[in-house]
């Protein structure tokens, strides 16, 4: 891996880590408004994002960079005050994670491309669960 591609890979990994950190925060907010099976699903997804954060942290450190730190607070995209808005927030967070991993698919390292693509699939499936619908191009802006 050359220096320029390494930088590109690290920046894509950092973007994915930032999205995972935001998702962890957001699921904490969403979970406070959910009950029953929805709460259980949110807790499971929250755990998934924590595991992904830990995995990305290890990879970034191996590449010689310092993982981007989580913020103490994240601006929510809209007010979250009930189960409906909490569910919409979960879908929004997963869309953001899907988009972040899309950047990883563009790096030259083939293993990272595959890692990013598989992470996109998980996030897209969770987004579909929360939104109740599938997308033709998860994470990608298509004209």
């Amino acid at each position: 891996m050359t220096a320029s591609t390494a930088v590109s890979a690290v920046s894509a990994l950092q973007a994915a880590l930032a999205a995972e950190n935001a998702a962890i925060f957001g699921y904490g907010v969403a979970g406070a408004h959910l009950t029953g099976s929805s709460l259980a699903a949110a807790e499971q997804d929250w755990t998934t994002h924590q595991e992904a954060r830990d995995a990305l942290t290890v990879v970034i450190r191996r590449l010689g960079a310092a993982p981007v730190a989580a913020q103490a607070f994240y601006q929510l995209p809209f007010p979250v005050h009930d189960a409906t808005s909490a569910t919409a927030l979960a879908a929004y967070l997963e869309d953001g994670v899907t988009s972040a991993y899309l950047g990883l698919v563009a790096v030259s390292d083939q293993r990272l491309r595959r890692f990013g693509a598989l992470a996109m699939q998980g996030a897209a499936q969770r987004a579909a669960f929360w939104s109740g619908s599938t997308q033709a191009f998860p994470g990608l802006s298509v004209p």
Binding site: V105, R113, A117, L118, M120, A128, T134, A136, F137, L140
Partner: protein
């Protein structure tokens, strides 16, 4: 004067002038073009499967229930196909890319029932195949493949949730 100069310097015209050699014949198809053609053919096959499943009235679930579930997924596959075709720029004079209709011409004339399980398997195989191809294509195409694979993965989940026969 120019031919003399070329002769004295020992240069061939092809090494002095950039661009394809007009005497070299048809250039080989780039790897990305071949990959796109294969992915387009696979997408066309997937669309054919959905069309067969939607039109099949021998299933256990009512046909309108099948159609209600499968039609939105089919529409997304048609969007995939449109985007893939938009990226395909074939040099003039090349033979047409392989397609589902061409492949279907040698298939058995008896229609095979397309179950939800078969669609699910096809979606899973499509997602895996696209991820497999990521390594060798240019970044923008890799991102399109990854996004389509993610869409296919969500279809697998939808099909697993629906018992449509």
């Amino acid at each position: 004067m120019l031919p003399l100069l070329l002769a004295t310097t020992g240069c061939r015209s092809s090494s002095l002038f950039a661009g394809p050699d007009p005497l070299a014949g048809r250039p080989p198809l780039r790897h990305d073009v071949l990959t796109l053609q294969a992915v387009i053919a696979a997408e066309e096959n997937l669309i054919s499967l959905y069309e067969a499943a939607i039109n099949d009235d021998s299933g256990t679930a009512p046909q309108d229930a099948r159609s209600r579930t499968l039609t939105p997924l089919l529409a997304q596959h048609e969007q995939h196909l449109a985007q893939l075709r938009a990226r395909l720029i074939e040099p003039p004079g090349q033979p047409a890319s392989p397609s589902a209709s061409a492949a279907g011409s040698s298939a058995s004339p008896r229609p095979v029932r397309v179950t939800t399980a078969r669609l699910r398997a096809a979606e899973r195989a499509s997602a895996a195949g696209l991820v497999q191809r990521l390594a060798t294509v240019e970044p923008a195409l890799a991102q399109l493949f990854a996004s389509i694979a993610a869409s296919d993965a969500t279809h697998v989940t939808v099909l697993a949730e629906k018992a449509l026969g």
